[in-house]
């Protein structure tokens, strides 16, 4: 599943990042790496997705979220 397909309130774990070097370094430095647990806080159409990761509330572009493969957990 892709990150942008997750519903509000879902907990998930990052499986893989299909990103180029620039995006990879940006998302990594702000806390999103493979294996990280994330919570989808808000996912409205046409708006960036709000996720909670490593104690931080992040807004991520929808397009970039398509490149983040995730797995829903418990």
């Amino acid at each position: 599943m892709k990150l942008n397909e997750l519903k509000e309130g879902t907990m998930a774990s990052v499986l893989s990042l299909d990103a180029d070097m620039h995006l990879l370094s940006r998302v990594t430095s702000i806390g999103v790496t493979e294996g990280t647990r994330i919570q989808v806080v808000k996912n409205d159409k046409k708006m960036p997705i709000l996720i909670y990761v490593r104690e931080t509330l992040l807004a991520l572009n929808r397009k970039d979220c398509e490149k983040i493969e995730v797995e829903v957990i418990g």
Partner: protein, 619 residues
């Protein structure tokens, strides 16, 4: 003199620490050859002087942007005797990533656990002694906005400079100068977070697992309602800023009003040359008035923006408007200064201080210039009313608004490539910091220093430009025909005619670049002729244009097409000498300020030309 560098991610409170330590002893410029802001300053403690460098804010040190490269190179160069790293104690795990990258550079450092007040409020406990032991460097729990904590910080810096420590542990990475593959970079960054986890194991005890949106956030992040709420709050903030600055401005306006006459009489009575009389009685009081107005605006805007930024609201507004503004290469944060621009270009320009980097700041300022300020909205209906019925005026205002949008795209096309290079425009990846309590004492202090600084510097810039304008509009006899401006104006009228303006409207257009309030006064002087040009320009507000006779004379000697061209040209010209000066002060770049000014002047003429010739076909 020892040099200390401040290192930290955006929102770590780095600039607060920098401002609190250096106060007014700071210098802002650009890193050589880069469009990245360089801030350095100094402070004294126990009789010793220290130099402080504020490194550009970035999330990592992996060479992915100018900011990251400058920061990494500076630390590697060893120019800093000590690096003071700031992390956000309320988001320790994530912000420690910077420490993991710094550890690889093997330089002396101390660690500040900033935002302890927020962390405490979230019931987060941090064992700073254990962390210090693991890292091998001193760790200080800290709240940057609290002035009382700086004694401890200075003690620690002094002590460490005499006996510095380096980090004793560092994450695993492959030591090679070669280009690293994506997989290797992934593995390394996981190793860095693994290292952070090891360092923090047992250091942090409570960890929030599930995030609950606050009541306010539930509204603030809704797609439509959230945008309306954001616009409302920013406009409200502008009102508050105005309320703060109005007393200062009205006080300032009394200076030329009450001092011009007496100064002029006194100097004339002792036979001072009329030239000097007009400089001292007209120009100088107005320069002081202008500078005071600017400082008052800067004070008001910095107070409200300081507040909105510190409590965490601006990040929400940025989230709302990022999608729209990214189309012109700007970050979402630019929404606040842009909206403020409708009130006053000076306010909007100094509001760009919230932007993350210099390029974004300069681009936002260039965009703010395109937004017609309140003064323009008060001039256009008056001029338009002389030539067109009410619905025509409404239509003109609508066209102006549409052109604002178009102008934004042009500005982004012309300046965006250089100021916000395409490759740095990633889609939005930003943190929404937790809501903070505002530290008013700190906000006032910063706003006051900024206003004082602007006032002192503006005196100089405004004086130079005023002198120039004074020289052009001075007339020995008081008659317009004896001023240089008239001579130039009439001489180049064939050229200005091509752009759609006769010499009279062209002069009013020029004066609009000086102060928008001057436009009506100058129109009155050149058409009705009952006032000298100098008085009209510098005493704009007190001169009081006689709308009745002006209207009759203007509508007889100016065509509708020329009036239309004139209105557009005035609206999209250089906003005013104060906005120009603020832009220069905020950007610290004469080159870029001049570029933007020339662009606006040129494009206003071009616009006037197009409007005139198209309108001539129909009107």
């Amino acid at each position: 003199m020892s040099t200390i560098a401040l290192l930290g991610q955006p929102n770590s409170g780095k600039s607060t620490v920098f401002n609190q330590l250096t106060g007014a002893r700071q210098h802002v410029g650009n890193w050589p050859g880069k469009t990245v802001e360089k801030k350095d300053g100094s402070f004294s403690y126990n009789g010793k002087k220290y130099e402080l460098i504020d490194l550009p804010g970035s999330y990592a040190l992996s060479g992915n942007s100018d900011e990251e490269i400058i920061t990494e190179d500076f630390i590697k160069s060893g120019k800093a005797d000590l690096v003071c790293i700031l992390v956000d104690a309320s988001q320790l795990e994530r912000s420690m990533y910077m420490v993991s990258e710094f550890a690889l550079l093997d330089k002396p450092a101390v660690l500040l656990l900033n935002m302890m007040d927020v962390a405490k409020k979230q019931n987060k406990e941090i064992d700073d002694k254990l962390l210090s032991e693991r890292l091998g460097i001193p760790v200080l729990p800290f709240t940057a906005a609290d002035g009382k904590e700086y004694g401890k910080l200075k003690d620690m810096l002094e002590q460490e400079l005499s006996a510095p420590h380096k980090l004793v542990s560092k994450p695993w990475v492959v030591d090679s100068g070669k280009e690293k593959s994506i997989d290797l970079v992934k593995a390394e960054s996981e190793a860095k977070f693994q290292w952070v986890a090891e360092m923090l194991d047992g250091v942090t005890k409570t960890k929030t697992e599930k995030y609950e949106l606050s009541k306010f956030d539930r509204v603030a992040i809704r797609p439509v309602l959230g945008k309306l709420v954001s616009i409302g709050i920013i406009l409200l903030a502008f009102l508050v800023a105005m309320i703060v600055c109005i007393p200062f401005m009205s006080l300032g306006s009394m200076i030329p009003k009450y001092s011009s006459g007496p100064i002029s009489d006194a100097l004339t009575s002792i036979n001072v040359h009329p030239w000097l009389v007009s400089i001292f009685s007209l120009m100088i009081p107005n320069v002081i008035y202008f500078s005071l107005s600017m400082a008052a605006f800067v004070l008001g805007v910095n107070l409200v923006f300081g507040f909105l930024e510190e409590v965490g609201f601006l990040a929400r507004a940025a989230y709302q408007f990022d999608g729209v503004l990214s189309k012109i290469g700007l970050q979402g944060k630019a929404v606040a200064p842009l909206l403020m621009g409708f009130g006053c270009t000076i306010g909007g320009s100094c509001g760009t201080r919230v932007m993350d980097n210099w390029g974004q700041k300069m681009l936002a300022m260039a965009a703010v210039w395109a937004i017609p300020c309140a003064s323009i909205w008060s001039i256009i209906p008056v001029v338009s009313g002389m030539f067109f019925p009410a619905w025509g005026t409404l239509l003109i205002c609508l066209c102006i608004l549409l052109y604002v949008v178009f102008m934004m795209f042009i500005v982004s096309k012309v300046f965006g490539k250089k100021l916000a290079p395409i490759e740095t425009r990633t889609g939005m990846i930003m943190e929404l910091p937790p809501y903070h309590k505002a530290h008013w004492k700190h906000i006032w202090k910063e706003a006051f220093f900024k206003a004082l600084d602007i006032f002192l510097r503006a005196l100089r810039t405004v004086t130079i430009i005023s002198l120039l304008f004074w020289a052009l509009s001075y007339s020995g006899s008081g008659a317009i025909e004896d001023s240089i401006l008239y001579k130039i104006g009439t001489a180049i009228e064939p050229v200005t005619k091509f752009f759609g303006m006769g010499w009279r409207t062209f002069m009013a257009f020029l004066s609009g670049a000086f102060a928008k309030e001057a436009v009506l006064g100058v129109l009155n002087a050149v058409f009705v002729g009952d006032n000298s040009l100098l008085n009209a320009t510098f005493n704009a507000k007190t001169a009081g244009a006689d709308a009745g006779s002006l209207s009759t004379i203007m509508s007889n000697s100016v065509s509708q097409a020329e009036a239309l061209a004139f209105m557009f040209a005035v609206t999209f010209n250089i906003p005013c000498v104060m906005a120009l000066s603020t832009t220069y002060r905020e950007s610290h770049s004469l080159k870029w300020t001049a570029r933007v000014a020339i662009f606006y002047f040129g494009s206003a003429l071009l616009l006037s030309c197009v409007v005139y010739h198209v309108a001539s076909l129909f009107l």
